[in-house]
């Protein structure tokens, strides 16, 4: 879950517990470190980049 609050912080969960597919030719960013939960798959499409910052 991503939360954007009114004072400028963008937050995300530190555990990824839902499968996610980043489509081809798309970029995504997550504030790390994060943990991919057991049984969960994160798929990054061709030409795409997932950056954990």
């Amino acid at each position: 879950m991503i939360t954007i609050n009114g004072i400028g912080f963008v937050e995300n969960s530190i555990t990824l517990d839902t499968d996610y597919t980043l489509a081809d030719n798309r970029n995504a960013m997550t504030a790390g470190p994060v943990t991919v939960a057991d049984g969960i798959t994160i798929t990054i499409g061709d030409g795409s980049t997932w950056s954990v910052v």
Partner: protein, 181 residues
Amino acid sequence: MTTQIKGNDTSTFGGAITTSGSSTSTFGSDIDVTGNVVTDAPAFHAYTSTTTTLNAGVATKAIFNNVEFDTTSDFDTSLYRFTPSVAGYYQFNSSTYISSGVADGSQISIRVKKNGTTDYYGSIFNTSGTDYPAPTISILLYANGSTDYFEIYVRQGSGASETITSTGALSWFTGHLVRAV
């Protein structure tokens, strides 16, 4: 090809994996590599192109004033010593061919000297007649990756001066990192 990162299961990467920064990557199991494993681990092969004079009864540092290769520029061809820049366990090997006959019964020894103080001996033997001996050593030693250094010393007890050959193929000193720490 897509990349799949999975929790507690096999992840697949459609491209290269690049890490940055100084953090250590941790893998909970074996790393099975199909291609080559490329590292920057130190490895060197030093050899001589000049003679080393061995005065009788004196442990003398062997001259290795050239390198065949020195992957991390850790071998000093002026001081004839290896100061590895990565901490870990190193395999050292050396052979020094004495290019003159050594008196019957004379004792010859070779050693790796660590930090100028601690000797690790290789072959120690007595010659017979006009032998041209080539003492050798092979040993695994720890280095701290900063100040520890290693040299080769040879001692002969013939009672007269002898020389280590200037032929690099006959007198050499090699070493490489076996395991980093």
